[in-house]
């Protein structure tokens, strides 16, 4: 076996280990960034190509954060190519409100889950930047570090926004009787 074959085999093993398990998350994030199923798929494909080229330089720490950074940068480049004046605005993309009419338009083709109108209405009471953090951490289950990468803000900002956003959501959901009240 040649040295090149061995390198390819190593890359394949690394790719299967770090990238394959994150396809679903990458696609979900791509849907939020593009709002179009075909465009999202193209974006993930471009990201896979880049990740494949870069995998032997990846240190194995935080694979999700690594992939999300590539995904984000890939999308920034795509947006820039299509329109040099359009800025990539992560808070607007991730802070978008799910619709309460039974379909989250973020994934029109993908879901048939009913968005609870009480929860959507509580989310509507948040600022866009707070909603973006809640979307990434609470809805998409990203870690603080991963959310910070996606939003390009410090991790402390993610934490403070998340805490304030959840306190506000808690008050809204308490008022509507969706969650019980504390012992005061």
């Amino acid at each position: 076996m040649s040295g090149a074959d061995a390198v390819d085999r190593d890359r394949e093993a690394l790719f299967r280990r770090y990238v394959m398990p994150e396809l679903q998350l990458m696609y979900a994030m791509a849907m939020r960034m593009t709002r179009d199923p075909h465009d999202a798929e193209d974006l993930v494909q471009d990201t896979l190509l880049r990740a494949h080229r870069a995998i032997d330089r990846f240190d194995g720490r935080h694979p999700r954060a690594w992939l999300l950074t590539i995904l984000r940068n890939t999308q920034i480049n795509r947006v820039r190519k299509r329109s040099p004046v359009l800025a990539f605005d992560p808070e607007a993309l991730f802070g978008r409100l799910p619709e309460a009419d039974g379909r989250d338009t973020v994934a029109e083709d993908a879901l048939d889950r009913i968005a609870d109108p009480v929860v959507v209405s509580a989310l509507a009471g948040l600022s866009e930047s707070h909603r973006a953090v809640v979307t990434l951490v609470d809805i998409e289950d990203l870690s603080y570090k991963e959310a910070a990468e996606m939003l390009d803000v410090p991790i402390g900002t993610v934490m403070s926004r998340l805490h304030r956003a959840r306190a506000k959501l808690r008050r809204s959901l308490e008022k509507s009787g969706h969650v019980r009240r504390g012992l005061g």
């Binding site: 999202a40 609470d138 809805i139 504390g182 012992l183």
Partner: protein, 88 residues
């Protein structure tokens, strides 16, 4: 009266400061153990934790269902990429 009694114990105050990180699994193991032990013995803080847990579960329920067809196509794309590394 209730407000004055609220979080009257320094431990409660400390736990409330890191409760969100604890619920998110973002606390170190030693701190997490400290919070867990406190929640086991303090009703007031435990109810707070349960309420935030409910809030978080309500939000998690908004996660869109995965698009199985798109995922299958992407998995096929990965296999294609790995079987023909020249394209990478």
């Amino acid at each position: 009266m209730t407000m004055l009694l609220r979080w009257r114990r320094p431990t409660c105050h400390r736990v409330m400061q890191v409760l969100q990180q604890f619920l998110d699994g973002e606390l170190g193991s030693e701190d997490a153990e400290f919070v867990r032990a406190h929640l086991a013995e303090c009703d007031r803080c435990n109810v707070e934790a349960e309420i935030y847990d409910e809030v978080m579960r309500s939000l998690a329920a908004l996660r869109p269902e995965p698009d199985r067809a798109a995922l299958a196509r992407l998995e096929a794309e990965v296999e294609r990429l790995l079987s023909d590394p020249g394209t990478g």
